[in-house]
Amino acid sequence: MKQWEDKVSKYLERYRDDELAMAEANRDMVLRVVSGMGPDKPTVDESSGARAVVNISAVHIPSFCKPRPGEKPYKNTYDLQKEPVLGDRQPINVSSSRKAVDGVIQGGLHKQPADLYFAAVEINGTGVRFYGDMCLVLKRAAVAADTPVLTTNSYDLIRPPITPAGAAPDIPALTLLIDQMAGEWQANTGHLAALKSFDILQHTARRLTTGQISDAILEDEDYLEVLKAGTFGANDLQEARVSAADTAAEIQIGERTRLGPCPSLAEIQWRKQRLAAQRSLAASGVTVRVITTSGRTRS
């Protein structure tokens, strides 16, 4: 998909010569960071660079590390259809919005929704915190080279500005559009990241840093979406990450449990499940890192 390289080049055409050199240097910097090269190193560090990550709550980690016979380790909504839910179970195809988005993905990218596991592109951070406090980082090899990467959450297809407020999604148009929103994991993640970084960061006056790039690629609920085919297990993980903020809360709850005043039961259960998750990951040979800065580097 050379189109993404071309889109980056076209983006740079807007600059005067004195700005262009800095913008090109920053484009190269983003490509290097995504590929796992340090700012001044020509070699790729196998543990660095962009990765596909998923976030899940700590309570689900033990069953992820040690699934019951016949169960998938990491489950998508289709895998969970046979499990009990809170309240009434709804048929998988009951949601018009999901039908619309999955239909667009199937029609435009030729991927079966039931076999898709949605992840986010991450560099040094801890993923999308809304989805869970444990960020599971997939090994580079666990994601096929031709895996689609979208410029945004696929549900943005059915909200403004792509789908106007109150309007029904135009499925044929969106099916054509999604192809324009998708790159391939190996060939295009760097270009997608460069365009997203340029949209967010001022990049013609100063050189961008690793941390700035990492933060721009995934910030809060704004991310590049990876449509990974097939599930994965603990063996497919490079590492797991937890945020410094959550870790501080965990330690403080632990201190109060020992010394008083006693934390709430919700806090106690939350900390207990995080410790149990880390035990499970350790037993599966997965390192858990506390992320203190998105600009971290590796030796």
Binding site: V54, I56, S57, A58, V59, H60, P62, S63, K66, K75, T77, L80, E83, P84, L86, G87, D88, Q90, V94, S95, S96, S97, R98, K99, A100, F118, F130, Y131, G132, N153, S154, Y155, I158, R159, P160, T163, A165, A167, P169, E221, E225, I253, T257, R258, L259, G260, C262, S264, L265, A266, E267, I268, Q269, W270, R271, K272, Q273, L275, A276, S280
Partner: protein, 410 residues
């Protein structure tokens, strides 16, 4: 306008809700310009998010898509009500955690037969009076909670009345000490019943470690000397109900130790070597939460969860998150009332142990001072239980739903 859940992971303690119409399934586009909130642990304070897309994406993984009852979306009258619902489902759901989610070894296996007859025959009968009895107040609170819940229409919620009695002077908790001790007897009895038949096995090692933690709970609160007072047969009751409990295989070393501990406490002329040891035969705990998570309770106290999840910590989840748990049973049956009372005693014991912190009794204290220490502990435990009880009451259908959370798989 009413709030509805776009996505909720009840076991994970996460949800995204929106102030919108009940059109989750019907609408194929996402309403914009509507308040959207993320709710998650450990504090469960709503946080504003910019788009409903995050909630829809959340439902592609472990979270379920929306929340429905009787074919309709469940409505909430405020974002605070949604947050309280998510918190309570999480706490109750955590009561279903097995050894993996608790991070502790598997619970010792329970004997096939139940423990019928123990409560009726072993423990002295206590007159239940909410004025002086914390356990009676807990049960009255549950009944009041149920009554309020029954009066609510679907979608409505009201602030919950706190557990009565919190804030009383410690001296008013003399009766509570008895309840605490009865909880301890029940706890010990259940672990003893699970003693494996063969020593030198991993199963036996696990049981010994569990029993040591249960013994430590009693030691840390210095309840040993009080045990015979709450068993109908006094010292003989200790032998009958702890040593000779079926399957009658408590190891001799433990029998000797318990006999010494029960015969005397710091102030009752126990053998000098025991005093020199400060009654600290068991390693100080590093994590009281793990202790509670690995001490088993009988099936009757949490019948609906897996066998691996029936522990003291789970009892706390049930009692605090779902006072309406009575809904799952026949509240008029005498046996159900007895089980609820016994379960509340176990919850009190667990809450007191969690609230003990670094405080311990001293060998230099007299009985009156020791009573005051324990009364203060019971008072603190009641305040803590009250603070962890529901902030809001929902209609019956929603309350029933919360009660089912501990059966959901993690």
């Amino acid at each position: 306008m009413t709030w509805y859940l776009d996505a909720i992971d009840p076991r994970g303690g996460r949800a995204i809700a929106a102030q919108r119409k009940a059109n989750l399934s019907a609408s194929s586009s996402l309403d914009e310009n509507t308040p959207v909130a993320f709710i998650g642990g450990p504090l469960f304070e709503p946080q504003v998010v910019s788009s409903r897309a995050a909630g829809f994406a959340m439902a592609r993984g472990r979270a379920q898509f929306g929340l429905h009852a009787n074919g309709e979306e469940v409505a909430f009258d405020s974002v605070a009500a949604v947050a309280e619902f998510v918190r309570r489902t999480y706490v109750r759901g955590s009561g279903g955690d097995g050894s993996g989610e608790n991070g502790v070894p598997p619970l010792p296996l329970a004997p096939d037969e139940d423990d019928g007859g123990f409560d009726a025959e072993a423990l002295t009968r206590l007159e239940s009076n909410p004025e002086i009895d914390l356990i009676a107040r807990i049960l009255a609170h549950s009944n009041r909670f149920l009554s309020v819940s029954g009066s609510l229409k679907p979608g409505a919620s009201v602030m919950s009345v706190p557990l009565a009695g919190a804030g009383r002077a410690p001296s008013a908790y003399g009766f509570g000490i008895g309840r605490l001790v009865r909880g301890a007897v029940r706890m010990l009895r259940e672990v003893v019943r699970r003693c494996p038949s063969k020593s030198g096995t991993m199963e036996y090692l696990g049981w010994c470690e569990t029993f040591d933690r249960a013994l430590y709970v009693v030691t840390a609160m210095d309840l040993w000397g009080r045990l015979p007072r709450h068993l109908s047969a006094g010292f003989n009751g200790v032998r009958q109900w702890l040593f000779d409990a079926p399957p009658d295989r408590l190891p001799l070393r433990y029998r000797w130790l318990i006999r010494q501990l029960v015969r005397g406490d710091f102030r009752r002329g126990s053998p000098l070597p025991l005093q020199w040891n400060g009654f600290r035969f068991f390693p100080e705990t590093y994590d009281p939460v793990s202790d509670l998570a690995r001490i088993p309770v009988a099936k009757k106290f949490i019948p609906d969860v897996s066998t691996d999840a029936r522990n003291l910590l789970a009892v706390l989840s049930v009692v605090t998150a779902t006072p309406a748990d009575l809904l799952l049973h026949d509240p008029k049956a005498a046996s159900v009332q007895a089980v609820m009372e016994a379960r509340a005693e176990l919850a009190l014991l667990a809450a007191a142990y969690l609230n003990l912190g670094t405080e311990r009794q001293s060998a230099n204290w007299g009985d009156a001072t020791s009573d005051l220490f324990l009364a203060r502990l019971v008072s603190t435990a009641e305040s803590w239980l009250s603070a962890n009880c529901p902030k809001r009451v929902f209609a019956i259908a929603v309350e029933k739903m919360i009660c089912t959370c501990s059966t959901l798989p993690a």
